[in-house]
């Protein structure tokens, strides 16, 4: 039997700073052992516990798509001891990874439907995984229209800038990128995500919304979705809590009897409504 | 006791006096035992007792804290405040049963290269007498 607390050895293949404030860094990890790579299956929205020996573990959403074989991508916000260490780690160094953990986005439920993806700030990571998954030729016909609204405070803080440019050129995805404050080079939209959503007013018919971002954005976006008549069951979001074990043993990440690590992190709004307001 | 054992002593030296004193000892070619490892701090008042304890827990055989003479503090009163902390900490550790002399204090000015060498010599002698630290060390 496999010990769920043992990390899988990974190697940092590539590291790149994403944003101008240098607080977000993307690590591309590849498996040290071939058999681990083969055994690793995940769906967008799941997360892993990345560890640096001697520093500890931190839960991080997987930013790469399952369709991108052989490696995993994580975008890390520099916050605590572990994430700071992950910011300083050099290419070629070993890190530990436990996962995939959690439930992920309900890909099967989205089949044949339109998907509206709303993201804000660095919470865009697992959304990127979801979008990249559906944009893959093998999966593109699984869902109908894909609409993406992605906002950041400033242009420099947008993640995956190159990829956003590519998506913008494509005809099979409608992408709206917005910033709270533009700068002199910014030609795109300026405006807060909830307002952009209101303006865009996508139809809720046959559509699932996936929303992920800072609490303040979520707070103001939910009413807009309600106004567009999205039913609670068709609004999905991913929660964040302090986690340690990631497998529902250590306590602490529960909201009511639900463990965010194991039963989540992805919930629909109907599920969330039933939980105590403990988040 | 094994004669080849040499104590490891951590010295916290204040930037303005004792560190300069150590420097003077060096440039004046005054010899002192090589057992000390120096950490330069802005002021002897900056010493948090946690620093001293962490050092002892980590296995140094002794700690020396050295600052400006009373009245000479670059920050006017830092060493006075530090003096009270030192006095209470030293007494407390000895009461607990840590050997007297593991933690020592001195005033060394920037002009006292000779005194610095003498202080280090005394501290090393004291700690050699005590032997390697056994209590409190993390194994």
């Amino acid at each position: 039997m496999k010990n769920p607390y043992h990390p899988i050895p990974m190697i940092v293949k590539k590291a790149s700073v994403e944003t101008t404030d240098r607080m977000l860094r993307t690590l591309q990890l590849s498996f040290l052992n071939e058999e681990d790579a083969k055994a690793f299956r995940f769906i967008p929205g799941q997360f892993c516990e990345l560890s640096i020996f001697g520093k500890g573990e931190a839960p991080l959403g997987i930013a790469s798509s399952p369709t991108e074989n052989g490696s995993l991508k994580f975008t890390i916000n520099k916050a605590g001891v572990v994430t700071t260490a992950l910011h300083h780690i050099e290419e070629g160094t070993e890190v530990g990874m436990r996962g995939p953990l959690g439930n992920g986005y309900p890909i099967d439920i989205f089949q044949g439907k339109n998907v509206l993806v709303i993201g804000g700030g660095f919470a865009f990571t697992t959304l990127r995984s979801l979008i990249a998954f559906f944009l893959h030729p093998e999966n593109r016909n699984k869902v109908k229209d894909i609409t993406v609204i992605y906002g950041a405070r400033m242009p420099g803080l947008l993640l995956y800038k190159e990829e956003l440019k590519e998506w913008e050129k494509r005809s099979d995805i409608k992408l709206v990128v917005t910033v709270d404050w533009g700068d002199k080079d910014w030609k795109g939209k300026v405006g807060l995500v909830p307002n952009v959503l209101e303006e865009l007013a996508p139809s809720s018919e046959n559509t699932y919304a996936v929303i992920c971002g800072p609490p303040i954005m979520i707070k103001f976006t939910f009413p807009k979705l309600m106004a567009l008549q999205f039913p609670d069951e068709r609004i999905y979001t991913s929660l964040e809590r302090r986690m340690k074990c990631g497998i529902g043993k250590c306590g602490r990440c529960n909201i009511g009897h639900i463990y965010v690590c194991n039963d989540g992190p992805v919930f629909n709004y109907a599920q969330l409504k039933k939980l105590p307001k403990d988040y | 006791m094994d004669n080849s054992w040499e104590p490891k002593i951590l010295a916290f030296l204040c930037n303005w006096c004792s560190y300069a004193g150590a420097d003077l000892a060096g440039t004046s070619r005054i010899q002192y035992p090589p057992n000390i490892r120096v950490i330069r701090v802005p002021c002897s008042g900056r010493i948090n007792p946690l620093f001293i304890l962490k050092a002892l827990q980590g296995g140094v055989d002794g700690v020396l804290v050295s600052g400006c003479h009373p009245g000479d503090c670059h920050y006017l009163t830092g060493n006075y405040v530090g003096r009270r902390k030192s006095a209470t900490l030293k007494r407390f550790l000895e009461y607990l049963g840590l050997e007297e002399g593991r933690v020592q204090f001195s005033w060394v000015s920037a002009a006292e290269g000779g005194k610095f060498s003498q202080v280090v010599g005394e501290v090393v002698q004291d700690i050699k007498k005590l032997g390697p630290i056994k209590r409190f060390v993390k194994k």
Binding site: M1, N3, P4, Y5, H6, P7, P9, L32, S51, I52, F53, G54, K55, G56, E57, A79, G80, T83, E90, G92, T93, E94, G96, P215, E240, R241, R242, K244, C245, I247, G248, K249, C250, G251, R252, C253, N254, I255, G256, H257, N262, P276, K277, D278, Y279 | -
Partner: protein, 352 residues
């Protein structure tokens, strides 16, 4: 067949256990302070007190447990697991409340998708020798929570203290391996009826009045209740109740680094500590003692039953006995119930 162990044979019996396995039993650390510890010599064992401070969960889920060690090798690491239990284990002198608590820990650590290897190995390696509770304390309410001072479930062997000897019952396959033990003799009818009498007396003594029946449903309606505004007031958030609780199982995972390697360990943690749920950003979903006290009580009596169908309290009374400010969980339960039942000593307080 009923067996017995004469008390004069206890030491040789313990020695035989030590020779065969790692023996864990109550040990007195200071006057009146007992914990379960690995025994080196039979005379360390102290079976005189009614219960230990730290519960027997420590043998299965130790307060500090190394998960693996690592050694640096260039840019990579050599990882050595510590999950194997090398020797068989016997735990002696466990009270029925603690044994019942272990069955609750089983649900958490063994159940659902993931199995906790460390816990499983500790569990599999261990033979459990239960000890009947002949003299339950006034703070004991195991009979209210589905247990009892003579509950045998979960024990491999069960001892009943008869004064001069222990009546021994072999309950499981693991227990039956002791059938041929030289130290056990056949018990006579007198001894068997004495054991019965002690059992009846003990059963009468434990408190059955704590209204845990239906508490899950009651608490369902109380999540946002002003009840919590008062309940937490006297709690100072000291964690004693959670560390000494036989069913509390939360832990924290940390790395301890040395120069060339280190280890990953897990330590008990407590929902009453503010850091427990505090996120790196500084946001804390349970910002005050009110939410944390609610978490403690809701977890035991609402969330746990929702997940596993049983309440996570075995009525050992430790949290009542050792709380520095006398937070009484029986009263907290009482207060969730419309009819407030009287305790042996009617007190008056504005908080449980």
């Amino acid at each position: 067949m009923n067996l017995k162990l004469d008390k004069k044979d206890l030491k040789p019996f313990l020695q035989s256990l030590i020779d065969e396995a790692d023996l864990f039993a109550p040990v007195q650390l200071a006057e009146g302070v007992l914990v379960f510890k690995k025994i080196d010599r039979p005379d360390e064992v102290d079976l005189s007190s009614s219960n230990t401070q730290k519960p027997a969960k420590e043998v299965f889920s130790p307060q500090s447990e190394t998960m693996f060690r690592y050694e640096k090798a260039g840019k990579q690491h050599q990882v050595t697991s510590t999950e194997e239990v090398e020797r068989k284990r016997v735990i002696l002198g466990v009270r029925p409340c603690d044994i019942q608590a272990v069955s609750l820990l089983d649900e958490v650590f063994l159940g659902k998708e993931y199995t906790d290897s460390y816990y499983l190995n500790n569990r599999n390696a261990t033979t459990m020798i239960g000890m009947a509770c002949g003299h339950p304390l006034s703070t004991c309410f195991c009979s209210s929570t589905g247990g009892g001072p003579f509950l045998r479930k979960g024990s491999d062997l069960f001892f009943i203290d008869l004064g001069e000897s222990f009546l021994v019952e072999l309950l499981t396959e693991k227990g039956m391996t002791f059938q041929k033990s030289n130290f056990f003799k056949e018990a006579n009818t007198e001894e068997i009826s004495l054991a019965k009498a002690i059992e009846e007396k003990a059963l009468k003594k434990t408190d059955t009045s704590v209204p845990v029946e239906g508490i899950e449903k009651r608490l369902d309606l109380m999540v946002e209740s002003s009840f919590w505004d008062r309940v937490h007031e006297k709690c100072i958030g000291c964690r004693v109740c959670t560390y000494l609780c036989p069913t509390c199982h939360c832990f924290d995972i940390m790395d301890e680094a040395l120069t060339h390697g280190g280890q990953r360990v897990r330590n008990w943690d407590s929902c009453l500590s503010s850091l427990y749920s505090q996120e790196t950003s500084g946001h804390n979903p349970r910002p005050t003692n009110r939410e944390r006290t609610r978490q403690r009580i809701m977890h035991k009596f609402n969330y746990f039953p929702k997940n596993f169908g049983r309440i996570a309290c075995v009525g050992c009374g430790r949290c009542i006995l050792y709380c520095p400010v006398q937070f009484d969980i029986r009263q907290a339960i009482n207060w969730t119930s419309a009819k407030r039942l009287k305790l042996q000593r009617g007190g008056r307080s504005t908080n449980p």
